[in-house]
Subunit: 155 residues, 2 copies
């Protein structure tokens, strides 16, 4: 069970918002991730980035998404009860993430319904948001997750 | 300019598909990424994953997305001419990525139009697909990117 008391499908309450803690990101981490996966000048070249459209180095949006995912695994997705995700809708990165930023992550359950085809699970749709230390929304995504239903008591 | 001849907005032809090369992923890479960002048993614990819903270890969907991004940076997004992305729509991971898989990435331009508010750029919407060595589609996403328009010749 997560620290938000989430373990089975029945625990996810539409309308409820769950605090998923915070995570900080350093320049070294931004550079390391981007060298591996997103080597654009705005993410890997501090000098070029300084004279670029954002006036400095910014994190790859995929890095931000990965940092947010870590928080979801620890605070929102039930350990072992999550059956992976069919997908994500509408990721937006309205404000860039910069070195030294601290992001607070929260998840709001938008919809929770039983699967029609697979009776062991429910489908939870959540709006995931990350806000920086200045209160700016840096990422918003809609995530769909399969979650096991609470087992029937055994005789 | 990328090896697909893409540099400015005008180079992106609606309907055209661009080959973005291939990338392989090892078990060690899957474990390393997942320990940092997505430490669910199906991604970080080979023994637990073997008896889990996928019958073995699978890559985090975010790892797959990051591997695909690398290919886009090298083959689809113009070096220096990309102005970051406002977001992604509808990422889907229909088939899991497993250790040793090789993914071929392709991008198909769905729409390309000039920005109404910012005349220096266009908005390119692309359907990004990754297919494994067996021909299974492992990821599909719709990506929106800003790309600079070709500069006017100077007198």
């Amino acid at each position: 069970m997560t620290d938000n008391g989430l373990k089975y499908f029945e625990d996810y309450t539409p309308g409820a918002t769950y605090d998923c803690g915070e995570v900080s990101v350093s320049e070294a981490q931004i550079l390391s991730f981007a060298r591996d996966f997103d080597p654009q000048p705005i993410h890997v070249d501090p000098a070029a980035a300084a004279s670029g459209p954002f006036g400095g180095l910014i994190a790859s949006g995929w890095h931000t998404a990965a940092l947010v995912m870590r928080q979801l695994v620890e605070h929102y997705l039930p350990v072992g009860g999550s059956l992976a995700s069919p997908g994500i809708d509408q990721i937006r990165w309205p404000v860039p993430v910069r070195p030294g930023d601290t992001l607070r992550v929260r998840a709001t359950v938008q919809d929770a319904r039983r699967s029609q085809s697979k009776p062991d699970r429910g489908i939870v749709t959540g709006v995931i948001e990350a806000v920086n230390q200045d209160g700016d929304l840096v990422m918003r995504a809609t995530a769909v997750n399969f979650v096991l239903v609470r087992p029937e008591p055994q005789n």
